[in-house]
């Protein structure tokens, strides 16, 4: 059974057809990179997977369970699907450690000491355990994004969604975030990454999909995608960004 099964999904914003008949199947442990021009629906696509956006047609199955079923608890679903945003979106009024422990303590009802030791492990894994007592504003963008990754991991999700995680970073900070993501991929996390970091795609992606106008235009292994793209639109896009 696939980890995530996406069948014929459609979404409209009013009259605007944002997602058109998107089909995809993601295996456990697979890393999928989604790229495409802005406005192509790639962010909307991954935001449908934790229901930050609602689809109007089709279905999304997480381990065989339809996440749009009436009986599904959205909050519980979201604990299984971690998300990292372009703008980090850390809680500015809480320390780094509190950012990571908030959801485990409040949602999972985990004792504070246990949540903190898990958080410290995760912060160590992304290399910022020595900043645990600081507030987000005191950290660099790259450090903040790594905290955001630790925060998402604290819920022990089965899938991680990354929505342009390096687009808001200064160039010299991009690698530290990508390295944290590569570690995660090597540890077998199922990941969907909207990104324009083609180096990352080449190195860790199992598959790359290219979206345009709300539909998947081309998909394949990184090898195929970068050396032998079939679609004109993909070729034009690659020419722009490589």
């Amino acid at each position: 059974m696939a980890m995530i099964e996406i069948k014929d999904i459609h979404k409209w914003y009013g009259d605007f057809h944002v997602l058109k008949n998107v089909n995809e199947s993601i295996e456990k442990g697979e890393v999928l990179v989604i790229c495409g021009p802005s406005g192509s629906g790639k962010s909307t696509f991954i935001r449908c997977i934790n229901r930050l956006e609602e689809i109007q047609k089709g279905e999304i199955l997480l381990e065989g369970r339809n996440i749009y079923d009436k009986g599904v608890d959205v909050n519980e679903l979201r604990t299984e699907v971690g998300m990292v945003f372009q703008q980090f979106n850390l809680y500015p009024h809480l320390t780094v450690l509190q950012n990571v422990t908030l959801a485990p303590i409040k949602v999972r009802k985990m004792p504070k000491s246990q949540a903190e030791s898990i958080a410290m492990e995760l912060l160590a894994r992304v290399g910022i355990h020595d900043q645990a007592k600081k507030f987000p504003v005191e950290l660099s963008g790259g450090q903040q994004q790594r905290v955001a990754i630790a925060r998402a991991l604290a819920m022990k999700p089965k899938v991680m969604l990354f929505d342009e995680p390096t687009s808001a970073l200064d160039p010299e900070m991009i690698n530290e975030v990508l390295n944290a993501m590569k570690d995660l991929a090597r540890d077998g996390m199922t990941m969907l990454c909207v990104t324009h970091e083609m180096g990352f795609a080449r190195e860790v992606a199992d598959r790359v999909i290219f979206m345009d106008g709300g539909a998947i235009v081309e998909e394949g292994t990184p090898e195929h995608f970068f050396t032998n793209p079939q679609h004109e639109r993909t070729k034009a896009f690659l020419k722009e960004i490589l």
């Binding site: 934790n50 930050l52 909050n75 519980e76 979201r78 604990t79 971690g82 998300m83 945003f85 703008q87 979106n89 850390l90 809680y91 500015p92 009024h93 908030l102 959801a103 409040k106 949602v107 507030f135 504003v137 925060r151 998402a152 819920m155």
Partner: protein, 233 residues
């Protein structure tokens, strides 16, 4: 000007006791009303932001209605008009206890909560929507996200306007003398009619209102300074 100032008349003996008891009642009625006004104001603000139509309509009507009618009219309404509003047993209970105080608290609470709701709503709106998204994406419910992420940030931003609402409430509480709540102004007025020392009695009342306001404002500002350093966008 040959007015003979006699401060010691007002500030000694029985009159001093009256003033002190008036200060106590003023502080009590303001504190109790502020507490309820904050609770109701927060609830109204969150209800309005749920985008659930009946909630939105209810809160919009509530705030517009109570912000745009005179407080004195509202005080009279709750005091004289509650006969028609409350069930018998509730009225009996209130008459046995301090009905003036209760009517005053209800009027001040309802009136102030309408203003506080608007302040809190604008505070919540000033927090980027992505904060709500980030907390929901971690599995927090709407209420948890409000409680632990949005409101703590919103409150820090709106502390200054909330102080001025609290001080307005304190000053507005003086209107409750009209329904016989024995608060500070009521006592000052009583001293004036017993002693004919109008200037002294009113001066003392004025200075006491002023000092309470300044102390409250100073304390909260200091408290807030301590926290503001962590919030910035």
């Amino acid at each position: 000007m040959n007015y003979d100032f006699q401060w010691n008349v007002v500030l000694s003996g029985e009159y001093l006791d009256w003033i002190l008891s008036g200060v106590k009642v003023t502080c009590q009625i303001s504190a109790v009303s502020l507490f309820f006004a904050m609770c109701i104001g927060t609830l109204l603000a969150v209800m309005r932001l749920t985008r659930f139509k009946p909630f939105v309509w209810f809160t919009a009507i509530y705030t517009e209605f109570f912000r745009n009618t005179p407080l004195l009219v509202q005080i009279f309404f709750w005091y004289f008009g509650s006969d028609g509003l409350l069930p018998r047993f509730a009225l009996d209970w209130l008459y046995d206890h301090d009905f003036e105080f209760a009517a005053g608290v209800i009027a001040l609470t309802v009136y102030t909560s309408a203003f506080i709701a608007e302040e809190i709503r604008s505070g919540i709106n000033s927090i980027p929507r992505t904060q709500l998204e980030a907390s929901r994406a971690c599995g927090l419910s709407f209420v948890q996200a409000m409680r632990y992420v949005i409101l703590p940030q919103a409150f820090r931003i709106i502390i200054p306007p909330l102080i001025s609402q609290a001080l307005n409430l304190l000053k507005n509480s003086a209107l409750c003398m009209t329904i016989g709540v024995a608060e500070l102004l009521y006592m000052a007025k009583q001293i004036e009619s017993y002693s004919f020392r109008a200037f002294e009695a009113m001066s003392v009342a004025t200075l006491i209102y002023l000092s309470i306001s300044l102390v409250v404002s100073f304390t909260i500002t200091q408290y807030n300074k301590h926290f503001m350093r962590t919030v910035s966008y």
